[in-house]
């Protein structure tokens, strides 16, 4: 924690960056993102177990871009997000100064994106056992049970606030598909099938890009495990195409590339 504050202060004093995107004390023992612009405010930065949010979401927000060059305090998932954004040509090495933190709060400095790639290659980026277990449990159910589960937990619960979209660092389209109304693909109001269509759309648009940070689930005010849908695409893509998002800054987009020998077992042919 001290090393983060010291480094942040130093960077702001040198004017190497104009804003530090980090964690700060929020209301009622919560943690929120803070944007430190003056060296004397570097003391407000914190890092502990509660600091799980993926701050990389702020890198592409216009309000933050307007502040100048940012330095971001990035944990593993955020580091992966940064590489993924770089592979999608949304940020370059010059746009952002990345300060990595291990889960223990140790500071890591990187010479460039290649350096981050090395760190990620050595880190464990698997989906947590807990979530894998839930997915396995769902898969073990009968189809009807699964449908009931999602109708109950998703279709009748979601209020379509789009917090999942706002919290997702990879949902950065300036105009989302749900905002188009000619044709209107997805209903504006929270209707049962419209909700399912929205979550399928989101999962498909994030497929191959999701770094499984779990921010969508954390942001959901209704506590719907929507991250499971994204995690399933992560597992499928790892299994079928052997690609993990956010492992390299020059990764090809999974869903807009292909291999001529992609394996499937369901397409009928004579």
């Amino acid at each position: 924690m001290e090393s983060i504050r010291k480094k942040a202060k130093e960077l702001l004093e040198k004017n190497a960056v104009q804003v530090i995107i980090g964690y700060g004390e929020g209301l009622d023992k919560s943690v929120s993102a803070i944007f430190v612009r003056k060296p004397e405010n570097a003391e407000t930065l914190i890092f502990d177990d509660r600091c799980v949010h993926n701050l990389a979401v702020y890198l592409l927000k216009n309000e933050i871009k307007a502040l100048g060059k940012p330095c971001i305090i990035a944990h593993l998932a955020a580091l992966r997000t940064i590489l993924q954004l770089a592979s999608e040509h949304q940020i370059t090495e010059d746009d952002v100064l990345v300060l990595g933190v291990t889960h223990k709060g140790e500071l890591m400095e990187f010479a460039g994106f290649k350096d981050i790639e090395k760190y990620i290659a050595s880190a464990n980026i698997d989906i947590s056992e807990n979530e894998k277990e839930i997915i396995n449990k769902l898969e073990a159910m009968t189809r009807e049970e699964r449908w009931q589960f999602w109708v109950e937990h998703l279709s009748l619960k979601c209020i379509k606030c789009y917090a999942c979209r706002a919290a997702c660092p990879l949902c950065y389209c300036s105009r989302c598909q749900v905002e188009y109304n000619q044709p209107q693909w997805i209903t504006v109001e929270a209707t049962p099938v419209g909700i399912i269509e929205w979550h399928i759309t989101r999962a498909m648009h994030i497929a191959g890009r999701c770094v499984s940070c779990g921010e969508c689930y954390r942001a959901c005010p209704m506590n719907i495990p929507i991250n499971l849908l994204n995690y399933l695409t992560v597992l499928t893509i790892k299994e079928k195409f052997n690609v993990s998002a956010g492992t390299s800054a020059d990764l090809d987009s999974v869903m807009s590339s292909f291999k001529s020998d992609d394996k499937e077992n369901f397409i009928k042919q004579s």
């Binding site: 189809r143 099938v193 399912i196 498909m204 849908l229 695409t233 195409f241 499937e264 369901f266």
Partner: protein, 144 residues
Amino acid sequence: MPDFQPKIVAFVCTWCTYAGADLAGTSRIKYEPNVKIIRFPCTGRIDFMFLLKSFAYGADGVIVSGCHPNDCHYTSGNFHARRRWIVFRELVDLLGMDINRLCFSWVSAAEGAQWAEIVNSFTEQVRTLGPYKEYRELAEKDKK
């Protein structure tokens, strides 16, 4: 449900399967009339939303068909589509949608007989499954 006539929508690419279906017609091959063919430039153009909307608006089954791998008129549209369906199928299966109501196939312009066979066998499959009520009933709530 022996009298049940399923509604089946087929999204096909114009270069291969549409021409294949045309060949089935000009060759006077008889096949199930339950299928409504919608012609697309390429399987790569077929968005997963088309499939979901078909189910919401009354389809009991959906066929998606295009050129065989390496035969795409646009070189790679079907390869992209293949990746999309691999992920989409897993996803809707986790959601508990009935993937037995989805049929993906490659049918070339020369395979009129095979097209008829795919339509016949899939119609029979959906007929046994019965109407896709659970999704449609939920969708009805959307329209109120």
